[in-house]
Amino acid sequence: MSRLGTLWVCLVFGFMYLPIAMIALFSVNTSDVMAFPLTGVTGQWFAEILGDGRLGGGFLTTLAVAFPVALLTTLLGAAAALALSFYATRFRVLFAALLLLPFLVPRLILAVAQLILFKELGVSRSLLTVIAGQSVIILPFTTVIVASVLIRIDRRLIEAAADLGASGWSSFRRVVLPLMGNGLMAAWVIAFVLSSSEYVLTAFLSGRQQALSVLVASDFRFDLSPSLNALAVLIVLGNIALVVIAEAIRHRSGRLN
């Protein structure tokens, strides 16, 4: 059973990395057409992408959006998860349904509707509108992640804290918060990644500054340059690095799960 399971997991991971392997392959192929046969090895595309100032600017814009979005959605997601589990509000079911809503609405439609709303309110498009719009669709993800950590914290720890004299806030700060640390970290990373790869809402809600995802999509429209493959390889590697760092932190502080 276990050997069969291992085989199956290997196959599935192989499937998941098949397109990534293609992207990596063509990021070092000399031809600028993404098609077989392969023509030779080059570092040209990586050089091109690293030397592209426009994409550099887009990258900074992406960071300027992704950092606040990740922070905001982690905080709100944590609040939502707490309201769903540890400090369950009376309107929990209604609240959960509301949280799922942004998840159900097709992105483009939500983007147009938000744009109409912003116009009615006299808010012009800027990074702030992008941050607001993205936060709403990423919120359900962070909530689920934090909640999945919270439901595994033993509720009796809170009782124990209260028993020993801790008030509600104090037991949150000294017991719940340290125990949900990993969940917050994971939520932050996921939110950061989702924000940086979001295209539809970003394209609709952004004003003067354009994030990397928008620039890449725009490049795609005219020219499928292999340097975009190189970019994707860098992004994937960057993400893996981010995750490895988070893991390392977790291990060093290592005490849970």
């Binding site: 077989f36 709303l117 607001a132 990644v193 999509a217 994937v236 893996i240």
Partner: protein, 285 residues
């Protein structure tokens, strides 16, 4: 501070954010769905005309049905593929668990568009798979149907949303106590029965949660069918996009969007009821 009121206070900012940025825009769309459009002027006389049009149009009805069909199909496929993976991650992966979960998600960060083009390179007439099969002597001529077909669309959709199914199932397996399986074995249940009578019911919440996530995302995905599905790659979402963008018929677009939303909410409501029924975890103390 009572825990309940603390919860309400915590929920408040979240509700405010969702209310302002999701509920309010959706309410606007809901209002639009009763309006009509004349060139670029939206007339504000409410009517049910748009909903009537959807009911009468074979195209829109067919597209909605097809979207839900695809959603169900991909949810089922990802469940079958993902189930053993989730089990392995939860019960056999040990210290590598977090790493493997992360590795499962990382490919999604490479971006939708690029991955779609990677699939083209894989599935194309001159693509990696056809070339390998010809080289192996399995086929003589390239299989045209691999790319620009519902097959291609569903392969890529399965790929895109498999990780979400695995995450949902993994959470369910994490809370599945091995002792229950041992107990079932002890009581004489053969392997297949143990699965059917213990594992499956106990992981059902994860299956339903993962299934709903996948279902919704498949229904909402228009890029994958458009770029990999060939001439039949039209989806209800791309039709709504057309109505919003190209035809400037926001009212009809809003009406279709709300029809879909209503059906989705019904599905989710039903799913939530199912999860509650199948959940063995008692609420409260």
């Amino acid at each position: 501070m009572r825990p309940q009121s603390a919860g309400t206070w915590l929920a408040l900012p979240v509700v405010a954010a969702l209310g302002a940025l999701c509920l309010a825009p959706l309410a606007i769309l809901f209002a639009y769905s009763f309006f009509s459009v004349d060139f670029v002027t939206i007339s504000h006389d409410p009517s049910l005309k748009n909903y009537a049009r959807i009911l009468q149009s074979e195209t829109y009805r067919g597209l909605i049905a097809r979207a839900f069909g695809s959603g169900l199909l991909v949810a089922a496929i990802t469940a079958v593929i993902g189930y053993p993976v989730a089990w392995f991650l939860a019960k056999r992966a040990g210290a590598a668990k977090t790493m493997l979960l992360t590795l499962l998600l990382v490919p999604l960060y490479s971006g939708d568009l690029l991955r779609i083009f990677a699939w083209r390179v894989l599935l194309g007439a001159e693509g990696a798979i056809n070339r390998s099969l010809i080289w192996l002597g399995a086929i003589d001529a390239p299989l045209q149907g691999l790319l620009f077909s519902p097959l291609a669309t569903h392969i890529a959709l399965t790929y895109n949303y498999l990780p979400f199914m695995v995450i949902g199932l993994w959470l369910a397996f994490e809370s599945l106590d091995d002792a229950w399986l041992e107990a079932a074995a002890d009581l004489g249940a053969p392997g297949r029965d143990r699965f059917r009578r213990v594992t499956l019911p106990l992981t059902a919440p994860g299956l339903i949660a993962g299934g709903l996530m996948v279902f919704v995302m498949v229904v909402g995905d228009y890029l994958t069918p458009q770029l990999l599905g060939g001439a039949s790659g039209v989806t209800v979402i791309s039709a709504i996009n057309d109505l919003f963008g190209t035809a400037f018929d926001w009212p009809l677009g809003s009406a279709i969007a709300w029809t879909m939303l209503a059906i989705l909410m019904l599905c989710f409501g039903a799913g939530a009821v199912l999860i509650r029924r199948s959940s063995l975890v008692a609420e409260g103390a």
